[in-house]
Structures are given as C-alpha cells and as structure tokens.
Symmetry: C2
Subunit: 429 residues, 2 copies
C-alpha cells in the first residue's frame, strides 16, 4: 500500500469563504489509481502552518500532495518554505521563464515583474508544466530524508491552486511521474458502474449473492449514493485483479443493466445527449417545479445545442397554456400537477418546437403548495414521441434543492430508458 496525504493551503478555506473542491477531485483520482489517501488537511497560508503540516505528513506517509501558495503574491509562501525545509537552493529555471513570457506575450499583456518568481525551482525538483497558467508545479523524490522518518523514499508534489491549472497538470504530468517513481507494488484494478433509479440497499441486494464468490477472492465493493444516483465501485489489489474486477463488473453490469447509465465519471446528462445524437433525435423540454435545472444540466455538456432545441420553464399556468398549448380546461379539471397536464406539456412542447421527443415535469417542490391529495414532493413526468406518450408518477419529499436534483435525474432516466428501449415497467426504487 502506498499511503498519501493531501494538504490544501489557503486562509480562505479556514474562513469558510471557499469550498474545497480539490480534496474530492484529488482523492478520487488517487484512489481510483490504487493509491491510499489516508488524510486530508486544510491549513492557512502561514509559514508556521505550512511547515508543521508538511513535517507531520512526511513523517506519516509515502506521498504528500500539497496545493496552493505557488503564485506570485506575498501570501504565496509554499515554494520558499519547502525549499528551506528540504535544504534546497532555489534556482531560476530558464524554460519556465520562457513559458511565462510566452504566456503574457500571447495575451498581449505586459509581464508583471513579480511573476518571474514563479520560475524559481528548488534544486533537483521535477518541474510540472502549467498549460493553463504561469505557476509550474514541483515534484520531489526524497531519498532517506530525515523528514521521511526512516522511509527510504518519500514523494512530495506541489500544485497550484486554481482548479483549471491543477487538474490538467495532475493528469498530464504528476500522475505519470508518480506511477513511474512510486509504482504500486502489486496489480491493481478499479471500476465504477453508475446507476440511476435504484436505492443503495436495492443495488446491494441484487449483486451481493452473485458476487459473493469474487468477494471471497478479495473483491471490494463500495456503494456511494448521490442524489438520485448510486455508484457501485469494484476494486482489488494483488495478482489477477484486472481479470477479477473485469468479471465482477461484467456480472454486475448484466444484473444492473437497466439502471446503469455510465462508468467512471460519465454523467447521466452526457449519456442521454450522446444517445440522442447517435439516434439522430432532437429534444424539447417543458419543466415546471425543477425550474430550469433539467435544461441547465443538459446544456452543461458542450455540443448540447445540436440536440436540445429548447426548454420551457412554465412556472405559471398561463405560461403552460400560452407557450405549450396546454388547454386551460385540462388544468382546471385535473390541476397543474397531474398525469393529464404532464402528458399535454410533453406533447405540446414536442409539437410546438418540432422535436422528436418532448420531455415534461410538473410537480410540487415545496416548501409550500402541497395538499392532502397531492403533498409536497408529488411529481409527474412525461415523455412524448411520434407514436405515444408515457407518464410516470414519483414522490420526492425532500428539501427544495434535493427535490430539483432528484426529479431532474428521474426525467433524464425516463428519456434514457425510452432511447435504450428498456422495459416500460416503472423502475424500482
């Protein structure tokens, strides 16, 4: 096992001014590659805090990954502090100077003098290129260093703070470096199947028995529930792991087939867009209680405009009639939150916009608006296509934001099932 600690520097983290998204992103990348993240720490931008945290971490684990503090301003102390602690001289790296100059030249901006400090690198450090900014990352292999507390080798990587600089740097340069310098001692395999419309315990119940034999051979199964979605992760270390994890995910893939929308970090919305594109179909959306989230999720994917014609957030009943052509009498007879209005919304938006599929949602997000017959959380979803319309009812009694998330996932799932021709039965939950 190769143990890793993450240290995130930034006083704004301790003031609660910023959400730490690095911790999750880095932990996921490292864990899925077989490295064991045993601790994550956030500390302020002070020399004392940086030195203490680094000293402690190096005494405990094989690899330390530290983020932030590599910029050109006075509170960027990491480069200097680390060089001092490790007893390494700082030398200017000519290639980095050239890259920084090119960065500003390309943007036709003058290069601030302070920026040049980012080209200083501790002697012997590996320079990790920054393809999206000016501060390079730094990686160190420490051989029998006193801070390593008796370890023959320790590894330390410093990464810049901005996510759009850190993430490609990690994938392109740090991970390959780490896998070369600190390879896993044994074979490792990890795969994650992503499901929608299935509870965590239900997923476990379905695959537990059939995979028991593989679990006895060392397979680890992890479940992680997000709002409306459950990830099932298979991992194992040791000889034959690739094959065993492959077999596990093939078996589970069959058993969970109708609920699986992707693997690894694939998204439900991305999969649905891809299926629409592949089948040459265009989509129009009419959502009410989800307030635009469904359309927002789909349009987060580049190229969505090829297949999504439009979304209508028909909050008021008048909008349902004026834009979608839902008959006022239908709303009066059945209520805006009803099977009939859901169907009419899906058919209306499909027809008005000349789409192949019309997808609709109408429901009560709360906290207000519920009745005895239709309590907060009641929702109807419909899909309309050339030769039919299908409506399902769901009950999502959650807080407003969770309601929007879960309900929009159910709508994506309804469309996914239709496109994949998966049985018309109501999915279990």
């Amino acid at each position: 096992m190769i143990s890793v600690e993450l240290i995130n520097t930034g006083s704004e983290l301790l003031l609660g001014a910023t959400l730490n998204t690095h911790a999750q992103w880095l932990a996921r990348r490292l864990s899925d590659s077989g490295y064991t993240v045993v601790r994550q720490t956030s500390i302020p931008d002070t020399a004392k805090a940086i030195e203490e945290a680094l000293r402690e971490a190096l005494s405990r684990v094989d690899v330390v990954v530290m983020t932030g503090g590599l910029g050109p301003t006075s509170d960027d102390l990491t480069r200097d502090r680390v060089a001092a602690m490790l007893g390494l001289r700082l030398l200017e790296d000519a290639e980095t100077v050239r890259r920084i100059e090119a960065f500003f030249a390309q943007r036709q901006k003058p290069m601030p003098a302070r920026t040049r400090v980012q080209a200083m690198a501790p002697e012997g450090a590996e320079i990790l290129l920054n393809d999206f900014g000016t501060a390079p990352g730094l990686a160190f292999e420490l051989v029998a260093h006193p801070l390593g507390s008796g370890r023959s080798r320790s590894f330390l990587a410093l990464l810049p703070g901005p996510p759009r600089e850190l993430r490609p740097m990690f994938d392109r340069y740090l991970m390959p470096w780490l896998q070369r310098r600190a390879p896993l001692a044994t074979e490792w395999a990890c795969r994650t199947l992503r499901t929608v419309g299935l509870g965590e315990s239900m997923a476990e119940e379905i695959i537990e028995g059939p995979l028991q034999g593989l679990v006895e051979l060392g397979l680890r199964i992890g479940y992680c529930a997000h709002v409306g979605q459950v990830d099932v992760r298979f991992s194992r270390e040791g000889e034959g792991s690739q094959q065993l994890v492959e077999e596990a995910s093939r078996k589970a893939g069959k058993l969970l087939k109708e609920w699986i929308f992707g693997e690894g970090t694939e998204s439900l919305e991305g999969g649905v867009l891809e299926a629409l594109r592949a089948s040459g179909n265009k989509l129009a959306i009419s959502e009410s209680c989800t307030g635009g989230l469904l359309t927002h999720r789909l349009t987060n994917i580049p190229g969505a405009s090829d297949v999504v014609i439009a979304g209508v957030v028909s909050y008021a009943n008048a909008a349902k009639s004026a834009i979608l052509g839902v008959p006022e009498e239908l709303i009066e007879a059945h209520g805006a939150v009803s099977r009939e209005v859901a169907a009419s919304m899906a058919e209306g938006v499909r027809h008005r916009l000349g789409a192949d599929y019309g997808l609709s949602i109408t429901g009560i997000a709360g906290p207000g608006g519920g009745t005895d017959g239709k309590p907060v959380g009641t929702v109807f979803l419909a899909i309309a296509w050339q030769s039919g319309t299908r409506v399902i009812k769901r009950f999502n009694p959650y807080d407003r934001l969770t309601f929007k998330e879960v309900t929009s996932s159910q709508a994506l799932d309804l469309l996914r099932r239709e496109l994949a021709n998966i049985g018309r039965d109501e999915p279990s939950s």
Copy 2:
C-alpha cells in the same frame, strides 16, 4: 483568540466519493462569530484514525468540532471511541430514547433495534438535540484533561454527518453552548458586504483610502471573489469593535452602493426576487447560452413562483422565433448573438407572457461557435419593460460552467439595477 480545529470523518471523503461541504459551512459560521479555525482534517472511519486525529487536535487547540460517525451502523465508531479516550462511561439517555421512538412513530415506521444505540451518551456530555434525525450531537467541556496538553479547559463537540441534521443543530444548540462555555475574551464584530459587477482590485481601490484610518485602528478587510461576485468582509476584535465595524461597513456601503446586493449570506437571486415582489412586478426570462441556469437560480428560492412567470431556454433559432416571436429576418440580418436579437427576445418574452419585465441573454458559451467578430465569451443581455428596452454587451471568455455562472449573475444584476433605479451607466468591471 479561541482556536478551533474541524475533523471530518468518513472514508468516502478519502475516496473522493463525496464533496466535503461541512468544512466550509462550519468554518464560515465559526469565523464570522470570532472563533479562529486553524486547521481542518478529513480522516477515514477507523478507530485508529479517529483517536490519532482527536488526540493531536486536542493537544493543539481550545475547541475541536468533529463530524460524522454517530449513526447506528457498524462503521459509526465516534461515540464509542471518544468515550473510551476520555474515560467516560456510556449511559442511555431516556429523553433521547423517547425522541427516537417519537421520530419513528411520527413516520409510522418500525424503529430498528440498532437505532437505540444513538441514545447512548458519555457521562457528563451535553446532549445536542437533533430536530431532523435520530442521532443527537454531543458536547464536552474537558477540565484540565491530559489530552488538553496543559490547557485548563478544552471543548469537544461531535455532530452527525447529514447536512440537514448538522446545520440546524449547530445553529440552535452548539453555537449558543459554545458562546456560553467558551466566550470570546474581547469584543468581536464581523460584517460582510456582497457585491456584483465589480472586480476585487476595483473594490479595494475604491474603499482602501477612505477606510485607511479605521485600518490603523485595527480593522481587518478581506476580499473574496466568487464567479461574478466579490464579498468584502470587515472584522475586528477588541473594545469598540462593534462600532468600528459598523462605521466601516457604513462608509464602504456608501462607496460601493451601486454594486452591493446584500449582506452576510444573502444571495443575489434572493434580493432580486424580493425587489420584484416588493414592487409588485412579474418577470419572464428568455435565456439562450446560459441554458436554464438563470431560471434555475431564481427558482431555487422558495416562493419564486409568485413573481417568475416562466423562463424560455431558446437554444435553437427556430425556438426564438416560434416561442418568442423574434423575427427570422432579424436573426438573419444580425445573427442570433446580437444587440437586436437580445432586445427582441426580452420584448418577445415579456409580451407573450404578459410580464412586467422581460430579461434575455444571448451569447456564445463555447467551446465551439466563436467567430472573429464574435469570439467565444461574447454575450448580449437585455431587459424590457413597459416603456423601454436596455441592452448591454459583455465579454466572458471562461470555461463553459464559469461562463454560465458569470453571465447569469450579470443578468440578475441588470434586473437589480433596473429595479433599484441605479444609473444606466455600464457598471465598471
């Protein structure tokens, strides 16, 4: 200064399966109340990790707040481990048993036997009520305890993992307990002004000079930039702080008046909805490149349906014409991303839906779709009302998600300025 460390337990955090939102939420609450958060640590759900992290933290700081591990399952070890470390017997709390029974009775569900373990509390611990779940929190005042490393008093609080349980418990029970048992030694004040449409350095430039005198009296000014928004935080400790921070925020409030949309944790969308409601106006939205995010943000606020009639996400040009009545010739003559089409979209959606205000966005989110004259990031925003239409142009050359965030904030700001009758000048950036 009262120092605090946060410890978040949960193996899913180290696998990167879950985003740690507790750290930011708790750090913000504690910092704004004058407590100094000096470190945050995430550790797995193992007895060894819990004991090590707790021992270290108690040796360093006055207050330790730990989250997770209080549930009824086998990986919930925190209660037992802490009792063992502190040498306290676990006793069943009758009132907690009663509350757990009532929790299940109210939901007409049987009470699982394992649940009862959550009523076990270490002797002498303060029980923090859980108004939204079954696991109570626990708070300890440790007097001259060996783990406190010579401190006369240390404080330890254990909170349950689910955010909807943790947050109200912290606000209603833990913070008052902490303020009673571990009050700040001196007066403390903190206020945050929230601005939109202003860069961080611009904000600094405007208030730096006029507030110099107060800074010399100990005022601290912090800036925190979110996408499209900048928070300006004033804080100070010591006698007279309330008055001094009050004066600072009054002065800055005047200087930054036109950019300020709220205070503390108030949201831009919440403020805009409130202003619409107060003035009795209704809104219709037509967004293109933001793909539904603007409508999603507004409808996250309960009661949005009172003032938001509908949102149209008119991705395809055909949708702009069919639903909003934008003349096809206008799109042909000027392009979908143009001043003219933005105006027509705002006027069209206002007219079609009988709204008081029509708000529109058309632009190029990227990564594809840019041209020399209209590169990726180009956007036009328009607002239409009874007697006029106003269009502004912005350039937001960011990644797709940042583009959507920034652009939707600019649209909210355009509406905010219109409602508040703030000068029609283009806001500086």
